[in-house]
């Protein structure tokens, strides 16, 4: 600690340069925090996927619907404990920017298949009884100030009613919570029966099936058996575990991990040169001062560590500030990715990268400082 004032003073010898270097590292780590945070949030979504559940979609495309009649056939497949279905609704509330994650679903099946969704039984009963009833996540309720008893109009960008209108009205009858998965509290579920009766086209079909298996170790055999049901038909299915389904769904957006990794690699590669040249310049300017340190008794190794410590202080300080900024801004992404806090693992990764960056950029100037010959340095050679 007694060397800290010396290291700190050396760091701020050229204030403007240090501030710009610090800002460039800070911004890089802000970007790292945000992008890696999104990446980690998506990975967590995949990791949370239930191993007992299979997703049955059209083999042609995820967006293609399947016949409702498959449900009974799937239920007969050995090893299947439960089957239900959902359909993507695609709506917004009042303004297109107020996008709502909405699904037509079978109330009883949904609650049985997703035990992580907590809905009071009287609200489930009300949902079953109410044709236009809908249950919403607690985050969505908070976002729009919706409460039980409200009548909510939604505009579908896909589905028109038999009369040609795309405006649908629902009665909020329940508000669910997902304590173990806070990111899922922004969904809107409503009765499939209302949806199927009212829509103008594609009647008698569903978006996808969700299947609960008795033994997850038999998932592959059960998936094959389900797909066999529709083999060579116009509605061939593709059955995956929920984890595989989440992964393939996210890949439709893009390989998030691949994109994030490449962007961050480019950013840190550029940063390596920017910070490295800044530190090198700083050491070049301080050759006589470093020689004085050696003159008064600092060993070559001590001078090396002093320069490395400067690099560490600069990189870790900037990284911590950048990650703190990312943590402060991260809640703004809640509506997009459903996660409200920057995963701690991202902060730990960030600090480790900052240390590696400091070592990578500081080693060369530190080595140069170590190798300084006192006589030559004092003589300005």
């Amino acid at each position: 600690m007694k060397f800290l004032p010396l290291i700190w003073a050396a760091l701020w010898r050229k204030k403007a340069r240090t501030i710009f270097t610090l800002l460039s590292i800070l911004i890089a780590f802000l970007l790292f925090g945000m992008l890696q945070g999104v990446n980690a949030a998506f990975s967590a979504t995949i990791d949370r996927a239930n191993v007992n559940r299979l997703m049955v979609t059209s083999s042609t495309a995820f967006t293609e619907s399947l016949p409702y009649s498959f449900m009974a056939q799937i239920a007969q497949v050995p090893g299947v404990a439960l089957v239900s279905h959902q359909s993507w609704f695609g709506t917004y509330y009042q303004d297109p920017k107020n996008f709502v994650f909405s699904f037509a679903a079978d109330p009883a099946g949904l609650i049985k298949l997703y035990p992580e969704v907590h809905l009071p039984s009287e609200q489930l009963d009300a949902w079953v009884r109410t044709r236009t009833g809908a249950v919403i996540g607690s985050d969505l309720a908070k976002q729009y100030g919706w409460k039980i008893g409200d009548r909510v109009p939604l505009h579908s960008v896909i589905w028109t009613k038999a009369g040609g209108s795309s405006d649908w009205t629902f009665d909020i009858v329940g508000i669910y919570t997902t304590p173990d998965n806070p990111g899922r509290g922004n969904r809107f579920f409503f009765n499939y029966s209302y949806f199927d009766e009212a829509r103008a086209f594609d009647k008698g079909r569903v978006g996808w099936y969700v299947v609960q298996v008795r033994d997850p170790r038999a998932s592959a055999e059960i998936a094959a058996a389900i797909d066999k049901l529709s083999a060579n038909s116009t509605d061939e299915t593709e059955t995956k575990t929920e984890k595989e389904f989440q992964q393939s769904f996210l890949k439709q957006i893009g390989d998030i991990n691949f994109i994030v990794t490449r962007i961050l690699f480019a950013v840190f590669f550029a940063l390596l040169f920017a910070t490295g040249s800044s530190l090198m310049q700083s050491v070049r300017e301080r050759v006589p001062e470093l020689a004085v340190l050696k003159t008064v008794g600092f060993t070559d190794g001590a001078v090396l560590w002093l320069v490395l410590a400067e690099s560490l202080l600069l990189c870790v300080l900037a990284a911590v500030l950048g990650l703190a900024a990312a943590a402060a801004l991260f809640p703004a992404l809640k509506e997009t990715i459903g996660v409200v806090t920057l995963p701690p693992v991202v902060i730990v990764e960030g600090v480790v990268i900052a240390v590696l960056l400091a070592l990578a950029t500081g080693l060369l100037p530190a080595w140069r400082a170590r190798q300084l010959n006192i006589v030559d340095a004092l003589a300005g050679r």
């Binding site: 007694k2 060397f3 004032p5 010396l6 003073a9 050396a10 701020w12 010898r13 006589p288 001062e289 020689a291 004085v292 340190l293 050696k294 003159t295 008064v296 008794g297 600092f298 060993t299 070559d300 190794g301 001590a302 006192i374 006589v375 004092l378």
Partner: protein, 231 residues
């Protein structure tokens, strides 16, 4: 009095590119403890090289260099650095203070290598600054000090770890006559009152008059040595 500096057949050769230049030729020298020696001679005569060898900043090509009872020509780089921190204080022509540090932080530098507590370091720094008469400028940075004040800070830094030997390379070369005389008076005080052994390189005959002994170096050899009575 015992010799605090002893050089036996010391040769120093520099190689610059393909050229090898011998700067000091089989030089022999003894400096007694408590002496204030002025090392004079024309440019290129090897004064600073000799000073660097005595101060352990450079190593001889051949010969023996013994300072404060230690054969420093045998020491490794790390050992030499530790030896310097204990035995030698350096004063340079251009002060060589760290511009980003205050006067007291500059003076404290050699003490950072000791096991002294922060309070002890502070006390020693204050004592050193008091000796050079700069207690009131302790928090000032070098850019806020005059040349004479900056050199006093450099002397305080050289003194703070109570070294055996003070090595001064043209300590007044960058100062006007009056300020130079003040600095030389201070060095003389340190020699006479504090018992510090001082070796000073200078071009200035007036500066050399403050020393107790004058040595003349020409083309890498001591050509004449006159002893001046201590005033």
């Amino acid at each position: 009095m015992p010799a605090i500096v002893s050089l036996r057949d010391v040769t120093k050769r520099y190689t610059r590119g393909k050229q090898s230049v011998e700067v000091l030729h089989a030089l022999n020298l003894e400096i007694q403890a408590g002496e204030f020696v002025a090392l004079m001679g024309p440019s290129g005569s090897g004064k600073t090289t000799l000073l660097n060898l005595i101060g352990g900043l450079d190593t001889a090509t051949s010969g023996e260099v013994t300072v404060a009872g230690v054969r420093i020509d045998n020491l490794s780089g790390g050992q030499l650095a530790k030896w310097r921190s204990r035995h030698v204080g350096f004063v340079f022509q251009f002060y060589n203070l760290l511009p980003q540090l205050s006067a007291e932080r500059n003076v404290e530098l050699p003490l950072l290598l000791t096991s002294l507590s922060a309070a002890q370091r502070k006390k020693n720094v204050q004592t050193a600054l008091a000796i050079v008469g700069l207690t009131d400028r302790a928090t000032h940075k070098p850019a806020e000090l005059s040349g004479g004040q900056a050199q006093r800070v450099a002397i305080a830094r050289a003194l703070v770890s109570d070294p055996t030997l003070l090595v001064c390379d043209e300590p007044t070369g960058d100062l006007d006559r009056a300020t130079a005389d003040e600095i030389l008076g201070l060095l003389q005080y340190l020699n006479r009152e504090q018992g510090k052994t001082i070796v000073m390189v200078t071009h200035d005959p007036k500066a050399a008059e403050f020393a107790s002994h004058q040595l003349y170096l020409d083309k890498g050899k001591l050509v004449d040595q006159s002893t001046k009575a201590v005033a």
